[in-house]
Symmetry: C2
Subunit: 327 residues, 2 copies
């Protein structure tokens, strides 16, 4: 099966490389001409995935129609804020029957919608799946053992992707809980910002472990309110990705939290070429939680920090040192 | 209330220091005369908690009866293998009505019993609670924000301990799920050995995150089979402690896994003065899982490595790269 990966950020590049190694013909679309050219010519993406050697078989282009020509599976790995516009462009370009696989981990801020909802609106009737889980791009590019989830409501699609995407070191588990998988990948970025603040304030591992525990509880509460299954939030796409993002290496969202704790403004902390999805997701999560009357103390405090000017130390101390109750 | 802490390992020393700072008169019992003397004279425990300054108010002794004299709350922080013998000695020494708080994170290997069961046998009718959660000793000694759980079946006891033990930076949550809290603290050490093997083999954060996710699932399965609540295993004493032990700094159990992955024998990897509870707990967990027909693939593989001579790489590869199924 011919695959296209749309978006040559770190995750798109790693996924495309993996799919080539899994034996598929793959073309990746990069918005930036120079990124596409470097992937084609030097088998590198030094801007978005430095340090990784890409397989020579990976084709790249900056022309969307060329990337999509003759493709049966389209994996979309662009930031959530660009998704609706991109999916609109795909309407006339996708082959009949081609499936869309979302690898975006975020919510649409204005509408608070998940990517599956955006696709349903822009590409109605199109077979859809979401791919998510604990997967630092550089480790996937280096073929470290990784396990993720593919979820779809289309009968058999998750299993088809499981077979097509899995290799010895990249394990794909199949699920039908699209809502749970999407929320896990999006909401963990909110908690990761708080983890970064804890790091930046000089607090220790005990504090981060308590935050992760509380974070999973509030992610699960919102997940359940929106129709996701608790098992999914406690699985790879929820807990697994939460742990990875809050403890393993320096994720983009955690770096934002650290910068805020050091005294940088939100504008300073979020500048740069790589998008911190958690900043936007915090606002959408807050709105969703409020409208569903779900208690999400961490998301509420992060919203105060990011959009209300609350000092990060005050927010974290209110979270960690609040009045005692039963667990 | 006068407190005694029995056991001057890292955790006992940190807990005792904390209780002094929380305003209680506290005496700690050390098996080693030189450890007791150093705590009394220099306010240090350079063998078991190097790098921490202990509060001058902390009294220490190597005579058990002296430590227990006039005490209302006895916190026991000795390795599981010494617990039954210690509790037997306490029979004639404890004041009437004095409570026992277990801070041991392990199971009795010969009987597969939890510490609450050991106490019920050796000190029948004695008010009992367990204290557990994500708490590196050195961070507690340095007053980093930490959250733990106190669980008891005695009405009001968990709440009494919550009030007595909590400070601004040390938060105690109350629970009545003794089984869940005890199993969380014990079983996470088994998963931590596997996490150490993954580190030692050079695998990355993605692999550890997947392991933690699967680890919590199997801990919860055994917990449920033995009467613990899923919420407890997903809480501070389960998930929180699991994440801490598998990702934060180098815990003793993770270090054993790393050493095994480097090719050390089990005897070499477990030598030294500090006890790796996970090695013994692995055997007890395996036996419990087998007798209750609970699937615990990580505990099963760790038993093969620790007691069956299986190479660590083979065990981890069988875990991480096994046949695909639905999550």
């Amino acid at each position: 099966m011919r695959h296209a990966v749309i978006g040559a950020g770190s995750w798109g590049t790693a996924l495309a490389s993996h799919l080539v190694r899994a034996g598929h013909p793959v073309r990746i679309w990069a918005r930036e001409t120079e990124v596409a050219a470097e992937i084609e010519r030097s088998h590198r993406n030094s801007i978005f995935l430095p340090g990784a050697e890409l397989p020579p078989g990976l084709g790249a282009t900056d022309r969307l129609e060329e990337a999509l020509s003759g493709v049966q599976v389209v994996i979309v790995a662009v930031p959530s804020e660009h998704c609706r516009g991109l999916y609109r462009r795909l309407v006339t370009m996708l082959a009949e029957g081609a499936s869309v696989v979302s690898a975006t981990k975020g919510l649409e801020i204005e509408t608070r919608k998940r990517m599956s909802e955006v696709v349903a609106e822009e590409l109605p009737g199109r077979p859809f799946a979401v791919l998510s889980g604990p997967s630092f791009a550089i480790e996937v590019a280096r073929e470290q053992p990784t396990a993720v989830v593919a979820a779809s409501l289309v009968p058999g699609l998750a299993e088809t992707l499981q077979q097509a995407f899995s290799t010895r070191t990249f394990r794909v588990y199949a699920s039908d809980d699209v809502v749970g998988v999407e929320l896990g990948g999006a909401l963990k970025n909110v908690i990761a910002i708080a983890a970064g603040i804890i790091d930046g304030l000089g607090y220790g591992h005990n504090t981060v472990a308590a935050l992760i525990t509380r974070g999973l509880a509030e992610m699960s509460r919102l997940g359940a309110a929106l129709g996701g299954r608790p098992d999914t939030l406690s699985g790879l796409a929820g807990l697994g990705d939460l742990v990875l993002t809050c403890t393993g290496g320096l994720s983009r969202n955690r770096a934002v939290g650290q910068a805020l704790a050091r005294g940088e403004t939100v504008a300073e902390a979020t500048s740069g070429r790589t998008v911190a999805e958690g900043v936007r997701t915090t606002r959408a999560a807050f709105d969703l939680a409020k409208s569903r009357h779900v208690e999400m103390p961490i998301a509420f405090q992060m919203r105060e920090v990011l959009y209300g000017g609350k000092p990060p130390r005050v927010a974290v101390d209110e979270l960690m040192l609040r009045s005692l109750k039963r667990e």
